[in-house]
Amino acid sequence: QLRQQIAVANATELLQKLSDKCFKKCVTSPGTSLGNSEQKCIAMCVDRYLDSWNVVSKSYVQRLQKERQ
């Protein structure tokens, strides 16, 4: 149950961070609906952020392993 709470907390933090960052990058002047290009930008923003998360994780783990040797 604790494990689940941590997973939920993580997903929540990810959703908050993504909303914040992708809204700031993609919706420069908020109108009466999300335009097409804003929607595309948001989708790409999410995908690139997850890519970045993966690159960060890989680099971080490699670094920790190098330091342990």
């Binding site: 959703l15 993504l18 909303s19 914040d20 992708c22 919706v27 908020p30 009466t32 999410v46 997850l50």
Partner: protein, 72 residues
């Protein structure tokens, strides 16, 4: 049980307050330049659009994340 209900209601209220703080923060930065002596119409509609679009954005991201999790 009453205590538990009370606690959950309070927790929910605290969460909503938290979201209002966060939204006001984001939309203030997005829409307010120099504070003037009145909230003009342009800034007011910017803020209310900002809240709506931010919630749209969160929703769209939620959907996208679920897709991604399924693909994994």
């Amino acid at each position: 049980h009453e205590m538990q209900q009370f606690l959950m209601a309070e927790q929910q209220k605290a969460q909503i307050q938290q979201q209002l703080h966060a939204l006001t923060d984001v939309c203030w930065e997005k829409c307010m330049d120099k504070p003037r002596d009145k909230l003009d119409y342009r800034t007011e509609s910017c803020i209310s659009n900002c809240v709506e679009r931010f919630m749209d954005t969160t929703k769209a991201i939620g959907v996208r994340l679920q897709q991604k999790y399924k693909e994994m």
